[in-house]
Symmetry: C2
Subunit: 150 residues, 2 copies
């Protein structure tokens, strides 16, 4: 990845907690997450559309969804101690940015994992929350192997 | 691009105005623009940092910057008539999403054009606005050739 300059300090420490608590990384990750989910949601809605319509949409992912996904994936330990939902969501975003900048997953791969894990009628808010939480949980389970714990 | 499904309707029309006025495309483009600028700004600040520090940051790009860039690039005609700054920024976002989904530029290429066109001390707000406007103007001049006019 041409941007591994941006994680050279983190590559030295190889600490999952340093990654999960890095605020700058979380900011980059916020943009990665929003782009990946926007494309995944658009792809899913377009594929299931019975009138062959193209659906394009952009969605800021709810922080609650990300925080629950981190708990589901049993990765709360990468967040700071006594983390609230906001901190947990930041950790998810930071981790996804790291995985992307470190070339462990391309953006296309991240999008595909999310797309393939969306199910149901996500036009209904409750169903979308359920589906998105499940999709991000699966993504986190998938990236778990790329970070070391200490 | 595996996501050209999302622009199959627009590919049929080949109309720059249809692209520039598509609200769903603008939503996806909002995420592309924010991610590209976040990485570009982080790369630029890290490269010029005299203490060899890594700077990671995420920045939502001001809509005013995008609207001025569209005017500078003389591409206002892709926006709707009587467009305000908000509409013009939407058109920039829609266009960048289209270029990316249509595989005319990769995300890395978009990031690199922005990074290479940032100059000056962008820690100062006025200088950042100037630099970012210039960088997006250059990006638009670069993508102009990929869209047909009608």
């Amino acid at each position: 990845m041409p941007y591994d300059l941006l994680i050279q300090d983190l590559l030295k420490f190889k600490s999952a907690k340093k990654i999960g608590t890095d605020k700058g990384l979380a900011k980059i990750g916020d943009a990665v997450v929003n782009l990946a989910y926007s494309v995944a949601k658009s792809m899913y809605l377009t594929k299931i559309n019975s009138h062959n319509q193209v659906i394009r949409t952009g969605e800021k992912v709810n922080r609650k969804i990300l925080s629950i996904a981190l708990k589901n994936a049993k990765m709360k330990d990468i967040a700071k101690s006594r983390a609230d939902a906001h901190d947990l969501a930041d950790s998810v975003e930071a981790l996804i940015a790291y995985i992307w900048l470190n070339d462990k997953m391309t953006l296309n791969e991240i999008i595909d994992v999310l797309t393939n894990n969306l199910t149901g009628n996500i036009y209904e808010r409750a169903q979308e929350i359920q589906a998105a939480t499940n999709a991000f949980t699966n993504l986190l389970n998938h990236v778990k192997k790329f970070i070391t714990e200490n």
